[in-house]
Symmetry: C2
Subunit: 125 residues, 2 copies
Amino acid sequence: MTVFTKTPDQTFFDKHPYAQTPEPPYYAVIFSNQNSGLDPDDYGVTATAMEELAATQDGYLGIESTRNSEGYAITVSYWRDLDAIKNWKQNVDHTVARNKGRDTWYQSYYLRVAKVEKAYCFEQD
Amino acid sequence: MTVFTKTPDQTFFDKHPYAQTPEPPYYAVIFSNQNSGLDPDDYGVTATAMEELAATQDGYLGIESTRNSEGYAITVSYWRDLDAIKNWKQNVDHTVARNKGRDTWYQSYYLRVAKVEKAYCFEQD
């Protein structure tokens, strides 16, 4: 058993599906959502494009995302600070995608902006 | 289209699968994890028992959780403050389950404690 209580090394991130975040503090945007199931192909293309675009933004630290078979998903994106989140929110392409999300893809969502104060990680030997 | 920018009413929570959190500030524990696939029945029983036990703890606000078909999950639990999180961490039954999780059920995890500063939600009409 290995328990990291500080920032893990590159090997950890190479092996495991987590955002490569630095030592806290930094910010998390917790986006819980229920997919409507409408227009899934277009949703998939846009979601991938948005993840790629987000990754180019100043202050972007990484993303973790999972969705179950009923279309309930949690996506957490990580950012250096509130300004980085604000800039991403105001990005034009992101705004267009977000409006399409409200019009079509999401039945509902809950979005929370939170300041990460502590972090721990673990891997089996 | 309906966009809530403050605390939504009971009807919203009755209809949608989100933790019924109050207006910020409060805390989130973001637990991203990869299941090992070992002993899944026992894992399911224990996970349900832990969710039920957490719900009885002082300062517990709610939980959101989803897992994909590859066993990658994000569970976010919400708490009033850091003391409530600390008390839950020190709960004896929770400690036993956590140790079993490290020994058996989790291949890896990343846990972050974050202070929620802002929240927004949305539902289709």
